[in-house]
């Protein structure tokens, strides 16, 4: 009897373990929670992780840091995390339990971090002061602003970089979305040149997982632009949008026709024709119609997570038809990510 109990217990533990491994975690990167005064004692922000589809959130690491984005080292199974924040880039090698600041006084207010798909040690960060690159997993950083410096472009907007796309079709080619349009580098960030949408504030730049020639840019006040030739030409695709300030664009991983977008007072917008037209809805979002980030589950495309401005996280399990509030009430969630 005792042996049976032991085997049953072992079975339960193994079952639990295998279930946990098959589950994906949701990461919510919180810029601020409620009122924020930079020089004051503020409420908890930073990284929150849910392992149960967004029912319960656990805060990990630093508590008051104006966090903006996260990148998870490929094949690390969530062990190696890069988090960007006001203090710079933080890195954890133990699933978020402890964090080290990887940058120094030269790097601040980081907005995005991207790991090169060909080389996990090659990290790019987007900041309001330009692009910085590390080739040693974040231990040292070099500014990579040749071609976008204000003295070259005539505007400080060209160094305000909010997005980085490493071209899947040509991994030496990197595109950045700046406050002064889209710039391109053909040598992994060594030199930039203006590519498109000069003078337009780019809030988000993404590449389709289905076709590397297809790119979308969400902008500050011009809606969405689409390119079908790798960025050479762009057209406005705003039909159906209710607001032209777009912060986030996400793809259905299984269906290249389905794309989601959202931004300032847009609600959630869905395109079923590859981003040509959109339908926007605020239904079920409890009035939190400004959305900063969308993540679509890689395996279950109907499972969608959104990070709102001031409303925390909402989740839909039916492709956006209905939404439930998932937590982090009052938070400005800058990035959501499903790994």
């Amino acid at each position: 009897m005792r042996g049976f109990k032991f085997l049953f217990l072992l079975f339960c533990i193994l079952l639990n373990y295998s279930t946990a491994l098959s589950e994906r975690k949701i990461y919510a990167v919180v810029l601020i929670s409620g009122k924020m005064i930079v020089g004051a004692d503020n409420s908890l922000s930073g990284l929150f992780i849910s392992s149960d589809d967004g029912n319960f959130w656990i805060h990990k690491g630093w508590g008051n840091i104006k966090a903006t984005s996260i990148a998870i080292e490929p094949n690390s199974k969530g062990e190696v995390l890069y988090l960007t924040a006001g203090n710079g880039v933080l890195k954890s090698t133990d699933r978020g339990e402890t964090w080290r600041i990887m940058t120094d006084w030269r790097v601040t207010e980081v907005l995005r971090v991207v790991i090169h798909p060909e080389n996990k040690n090659e990290i790019f960060i987007a900041t309001p002061y330009g692009v910085f690159k590390s080739v040693d997993s974040g231990w040292s950083w070099e500014e990579k602003n040749d071609g976008i410096k204000p003295e070259e472009t005539g505007t400080t907007s060209s160094t305000f970089v909010s997005s980085i796309v490493i071209d899947r079709g040509n991994p030496s080619r990197i595109l950045i979305g700046t406050e002064d349009g889209i710039y391109e580098s053909l040598n992994r960030g060594e030199r930039w040149k203006a590519l498109a949408l000069k003078g337009i504030g780019i809030r988000v730049l993404v590449q389709s997982p289905h076709n590397s020639d297809v790119l979308f840019a969400g902008t500050e006040s011009d809606g969405i632009f689409k390119s079908s030739d790798g960025g050479k030409s762009w057209k406005k695709v705003n039909d159906g949008l209710t607001s032209l300030t777009i912060y986030t664009i996400a793809f259905d991983p299984k269906n290249d026709k389905v794309i989601y977008s959202a931004g300032f007072k847009t609600g959630i917008c869905v395109s079923n024709d590859g981003g040509e037209t959109w339908k926007c809805s605020e239904k079920g979002l409890d009035g939190f119609n400004s959305i900063h980030s969308i993540a679509v589950h890689p395996d279950k495309p109907n499972f969608i997570v959104i990070g709102t401005i001031d409303g925390g996280v909402f989740i839909s399990a039916d492709g956006g038809k209905t939404w439930r509030h998932s937590g982090l009430k009052g938070a400005i969630v800058w990035t959501v990510h499903i790994e």
């Binding site: 810029l31 601020i32 009122k35 924020m36 005064i37 930079v38 020089g39 004051a40 004692d41 503020n42 690491g61 630093w62 508590g63 008051n64 840091i65 104006k66 006001g86 203090n87 402890t98 964090w99 080290r100 600041i101 120094d104 006084w105 601040t108 207010e109 907005l111 309001p128 002061y129 204000p150 003295e151 005539g154 505007t155 400080t156 907007s157 160094t159 305000f160 406050e179 504030g201 809030r203 500050e220 300030t245 912060y247 300032f264 400004s290 900063h292 401005i309 400005i332």
Partner: protein, 588 residues
């Protein structure tokens, strides 16, 4: 009594400067410390790390203070960078009085509590001074950011050097702030007192002199006068209440210590410091025998988007007399939210100024990285009045200012406002406390404050006058508004009537179409000022091209990193290239 004795002993130990000013200075130090040690009551008054520092340092019964320290460590109620530098300051000042377990406890705080660096110049100075001293104190440790002592020490040293280099080459960004000077001087005092590296200690001393000179030359009986990068509305209308008053009291005198604002408590670190202000700077702060003009160049805080360059130049101009000071900067967006572009400050602390209550996503987006559409709402959660039509601090892209001596012209080109921007009006603040106040038949708003006189002429707009609790608020409406401000005093004009008659006979020619004004005022010179850039005095173009300091009391050229301070033939040269101080010639 025992406490007083201890303070006395402490002060005596620190005496190492010339006798004349030192004795007055020591009395003021003693008064400050005595207030916090004796008058602030535990359990009744709110305490902070500064007050605890003073109490622990001079107490024989440290035990009763420790629960308060525990409580503050647990729940400091202040931002991380403030917390870090205040706690290490308390530790270093009080180490000998702290039980060993508390020394370990404080060390452990820095090993476990993560510290947000903040996003302003003052935040970063406090943050890096804290890490410099923490990592100096405890070598071979790993801290909450998982960096080693040597890594944190090196980073902090590099940043402090970078900050000093930039400030002395191009001017400060968070310049001349009556509020935030209290976040620069106390951390520099800590650095001066506790940095073991002699060069860092010297640099801290020189930066203290640099910043305090910068204040001294615009100091009038407790007030930080003229234009400021950052000011709070309640202090803009009542400058004697600003935190700078406590710094002024300690180092310059000529005002009474008024500890009502908790934020002034940081002056405790200054009062405890061994740093002594050189006599020459104190003379400059207090000698108002002869009027003088003084020019400064500063930098705009980092413009991260929507600008042509990262740190455009700020040109300040100040005219100081013993009865009033009038100071200004050139106008435009030079700081977000809290800019104070010009004012008259009278020797009794009353002040007059105008504001275009501008707000916009663009202004905030220039300086903050969050999404511009949400920034006004985020800022209002903290500052409350950012979008108010009645606010008393603001920058405006439609404001242009030209000052020459006591004459000032302010132009507001509100016709340039774009769709979505609000408030086509300008507010003028005139305090209720003025002695006389009248509007003459020509249109001059004329008044008197003790021995100081002022006149304000409004052209190109219509105004309404509202009587408020603290002020006469003139709200001026128009597309092209011109304000002409004249300031004088009894020393220059004799009685008030003569000043008033002088205003009436002044010549004004306002060309509304090209938005240019020609004004020949009471001092006889003619100013010509156009909204689109023309500045002339007596027909000669007036260029904004001066160095970091340019005036009777100091000179410092752009990028020179050398400031030459002068007072009656005595020179004190701070050379940041060599980290040397040279003083020559005696005061005559």
């Amino acid at each position: 009594m025992r406490r007083v004795f201890l303070i006395f002993v402490f002060l005596i130990q620190s005496l190492n400067q010339s006798e004349s000013f030192t004795s007055e200075f020591e009395l003021r130090r003693e008064k400050i410390l005595k207030f916090y040690v004796d008058s602030v009551q535990l359990g009744k008054d709110k305490v902070d790390f500064f007050i605890l520092t003073a109490k622990i340092k001079f107490s024989k019964e440290v035990k009763i203070l420790l629960p308060y320290l525990d409580s503050l460590i647990q729940n400091p109620g202040i931002g991380d960078m403030f917390f870090a530098y205040q706690l290490i300051g308390l530790y270093l000042h009080c180490k000998e009085n702290l039980p060993f377990e508390y020394r370990d406890k404080i060390k452990n705080v820095f090993k476990t509590r993560t510290i947000y660096r903040g996003d302003t110049e003052n935040h970063w100075l406090m943050y890096y001074v804290a890490w410099y001293l923490i990592s100096q104190e405890w070598e071979n440790e790993i801290w909450s950011n998982l960096k080693t002592s040597s890594e944190n020490f090196r980073e902090a040293s590099e940043y402090i050097n970078y900050w000093v280099d930039g400030t002395t080459s191009f001017g400060q960004m968070e310049f001349d702030s009556p509020t935030y000077i209290i976040t620069f001087v106390p951390p520099l005092c800590l650095l001066y007192d506790f940095a073991q590296d002699t060069l860092m200690k010297k640099m801290a001393q020189m930066m203290l002199e640099y910043i305090l000179f910068d204040y001294a030359v615009e100091y009038l009986k407790g007030c930080y006068c003229g234009a400021h990068s950052r000011d709070y509305p309640e202090l803009a209308v009542n400058p004697i209440q600003a935190q700078s008053q406590a710094i002024g009291y300690l180092y310059f005198g000529e005002t009474e210590f008024d500890p009502r604002s908790m934020r002034k408590n940081a002056v405790i670190f200054c009062a405890l410091s061994k740093f002594k202000l050189p006599d020459v700077i104190r003379y400059i702060a207090t000698d108002r025998q002869f009027p003088y003009e003084h020019k400064e160049r500063k930098r705009v805080r980092n413009v991260i988007r929507y600008g042509r360059e990262r740190n455009p130049a700020v040109y300040k101009y100040t005219y100081m007399t013993r009865n009033y000071c009038v100071g200004s900067l050139q106008g435009g967006i030079l700081q977000p939210i809290q800019q104070h572009s010009w004012d008259i400050t009278f020797s009794n602390g009353l002040t007059i100024f105008s504001v275009h209550p501008y707000f916009s996503e663009i202004e905030l987006g220039m300086f903050f990285p969050e999404e511009v559409k949400i920034l006004p709402e985020l800022v209002d959660r903290a500052h409350k009045v950012y979008r108010s039509p009645d606010k008393w601090t603001s920058s405006s892209p439609y404001e242009r200012i030209f000052q020459y001596r006591g004459s000032l012209i302010v132009l507001y080109g509100l016709f340039e406002m774009v769709e979505g921007e609000k408030y086509r009006h300008v507010n003028i603040f005139i305090p209720r406390g003025v002695d006389r106040f009248e509007i003459d038949t020509v249109g001059w708003v004329i008044g008197k404050v003790e021995n100081g006189y002022f006149g304000i002429r409004v052209l190109g707009g219509v105004y309404e006058l509202k009587l408020e609790e603290t002020c006469y608020r003139f709200r001026v409406y128009g597309d092209k508004i011109c304000l002409i401000i004249e300031v004088g005093d009894s020393d220059e004009f004799g009685d008030f009537d003569r000043f008033r008659e002088g205003l009436k006979s002044s010549e004004v020619d306002f060309d509304f179409d090209i938005f240019e004004v020609r004004y020949k005022g009471i001092r006889g010179f003619e100013m010509r000022f156009g909204y689109f850039g023309s500045r002339y005095v007596d027909g000669v173009e007036y260029k904004l091209n001066w160095g970091l300091f340019d005036g009777r009391f100091a000179r410092s050229d752009l990028k020179s990193k050398v400031i030459e301070i002068n007072y009656k033939g005595k020179k004190r040269v701070l050379n940041f290239n060599k980290l040397t101080i040279e003083e020559t010639q005696a005061i005559q």
